[in-house]
Amino acid sequence: MAYDVCIVGSGAGGGMAAYALTKAGANVVMLEAGPSFFASRDSKMLMPAYASPRRGASTKERPFGEFDACDGGWEIDGEPYTVASGSKFMWWRARMLGGRTNHWGRISLRFGPRDFKAKSRDGLGDDWPIAYEDVAPYYDRVDRLIGLFGSHENLPNEPNGIFLPPPKPRCYELLVKKASDKLNVTCIPARLSILTQPLNGRAGCHYCGQCNRGCTVKANFSSPDVLIAPALATKRLTLITNAMAREVTVGKDGLATGVSYVDKTTGMDKHVEARIVVLAASALETSRILLNSKSSLFPQGLANSSGTVGKYITDTTGTDLAGFIPAMMDHVPHNEDGVGGMHLYMPWWLDNAKLDFPRGYHIEVWGGLYAPSAGFMGGIDRYQGGGYGKQLKQDYRKYYGATIGFSGRGEMIPNDESYMEIDPNVVDRWGIPVSRFHWGWTDHEFNQVKHMHETFRALITEMGGQIFSPMPTKEQGYNISTGGQIIHELGGTRMGSDPKTSVVNANCQAHDVKNLFINDGGPFVSQADKNPTWTILALSWRTSDFIASQRKEGAI
């Protein structure tokens, strides 16, 4: 039997497509490469560190700690990738229902008007073929359906949303705010998809600070509990887990006919037939599937007549710095877990025309009191010199919670050195040719990261803090993250009006194959200094509406 739509991937893009398309009446089949997972059932929320002999330390499957919800990582057994010589790149894959929505920090930022038209301002990269106004109604719908907290600030490139009330800042965050105000760094309530009030049948947050483990009461967003569960409730969604997509199949007419996949439980190849194929496998996995979908009709891979599949890929730039804040020593015991993330953050606040780098960054804040677990206060000697015995024990109490850290997250501009192709020699354990990455930062990114460090140092100094590492040098790349490390890979199937230079049109429909759509981060034309999930959700809903209307018209 042929389904109306086959969706590959179950994260933000795939989950939203399943939600919107099943609600619109389509019969949908979803392929997910990993096992089923619903945080409402499977979360390790509130598990104390001492419930495990590992005390929460990271494992190969869970690089962010063994209690983290997300099964995945930069290295996955049987699923290698390669990196061209001279390049460094790390490719994160989530392998479970809900994909990366089980992992992310719930930072839910809209791209602003400038982000869609950045080339018009500075001549770099490309403009999107759509504008903020095209996406805004979908951001509104995502806000209402999924929910987030935040505050109306009326900033030019940080659009207001439909926000739940933000939680009060933690006391150390107020210290950060004070320093930011002094230095004229904009510091406002964070925007996280965590419910500070009940919404659409989901409970409000109980402030255990463990969103990364997944929430048993669904007070934060993850695709399985918030999008896939209601899609399943329509009885129009067939979910196939442990299904590793191999290629999109095409008919003689050049249209997609479905997807062939490996059933990982048996190792057997299977095929689902569908009238429409939606790829939402994550930006770079989608590029890989397309490049591996070769046929006599499409010798360079599917939807790749432009030769740009795998090109124009970006990751967020990143660097971090922590400072020891003497004022925070000998803390007043209290619970400051709060929501599972920062309560305040700094959106980009400067004018790039006056700086030596073209695009901005935002700053994430962390620190204070936290649940002691594996790695607790490692390197205490940097604070107080070292030692052992009763004095040391006293020092752990004294210095615990006296740290504030900053993470800069900035916009990378696509460049010709950063792209993905298929490695001609290497296959994964199912015989699927693997990705090979090329990566290069430019001075646009290096100068931006240098500026992050200068800002962090100024903030820490303003708070009377101490920094234990010297300012990173140019030779050290100012401690810029490795490509892929921030896990915001975008592009590879970018959107554009010209089929010669882009893969999909303004509706995320492949120029070359009218019944093929891309609903993940692949179509992004620019990275912006924003976490991409909220925009992936909004675009996926918009694309799904377009698919539904095309189906109604009989166009596809």
Binding site: S43, L46, M47, P48, A49, Y50, A51, S52, P53, R54, R55, K60, P167, K168, R170, C171, L174, L175, K177, K178, T196, A203, G204, C205, H206, Y207, C208, G209, T216, V217, A327, M328, H331, V332, H334, N335, E336, D337, L369, Y370, A371, P372, S373, A374, F376, M377, G378, G379, I380, D381, G385, G386, G387, Y388, G389, K393, Q394, Y396, R397, Y400
Partner: protein, 201 residues
């Protein structure tokens, strides 16, 4: 797991009474409680080490209590089963070969240093002799360069001991960690905490 421990575990996760009002389901609480119970019943707390040999084991047990001794607020590292934690980490599938070699080698370094100085192993040495060696390697910035390997080992071992101690229920209580609970509402930080930092709402 004894009833007392079960109650403690529920208390530690702090939600027994609040659970129904905030929607955290009883079966989830039960799962968390069972996980704590399983740990206590498992071989993790057994006396016989998996990674360390008998001599290393006695060295580790002596060393951790020099780092974190019992005091008026809480118990010692051995009372918190820190040696068992380190033994688990070293024998865990996640342990790197490099870290295993560094651990064995570091313990051997300490013994070798004591042999040179006193003609005895670390555990056979007197309290004063042990402290003499520790005083020389416990302060990285003051240590003599020729002792750098001992310094390196001890810094890592101190970190592991602190990890193992403060990640226990005893450790959480020691630093007065108040979280990992489900709250009906978030009201920000208390006035004393704000006052201390000179901030306010």
């Amino acid at each position: 797991m004894s009833d007392m421990n079960r109650r403690d575990a529920l208390k530690a996760i702090g939600i027994a009474s609040l659970a129904s009002s905030i929607g955290v389901k009883a079966d989830h609480l039960e799962r968390v409680t069972r996980a704590v119970a399983r740990l206590e019943e498992s071989g993790v707390v057994a006396a016989a080490p998996t990674f360390f040999n008998a001599h290393e084991w006695s060295t580790v047990r002596v060393l951790v209590d020099y780092i974190i001794p019992r005091d008026e607020r809480s118990g010692s590292a051995t009372e918190a089963k820190v040696p068992e934690f380190i033994d688990f980490l070293m024998s865990d599938r996640e342990a790197s070969l490099e870290s295993k070699v560094a651990m064995r080698g570091g313990l051997a370094w300490i013994d070798n240093e004591c042999q040179h100085r006193f003609g005895k192993s670390f555990v056979s040495a007197s309290d004063a002799q042990r402290r003499q060696v520790l005083d020389d390697i416990a302060w990285p910035r003051k240590a003599k360069p020729e002792l750098s390997h001992g310094v390196q080992f001890f810094s890592r071992f101190r970190d592991l001991t602190a990890s193992g101690f403060f990640s226990t229920q005893m450790g959480w209580q020691d630093v007065q960690y108040k979280g990992n609970v489900a709250l009906p509402a978030w009201n920000g930080c208390p006035p004393e905490a704000l006052r201390k930092l000179g901030v306010s709402y």
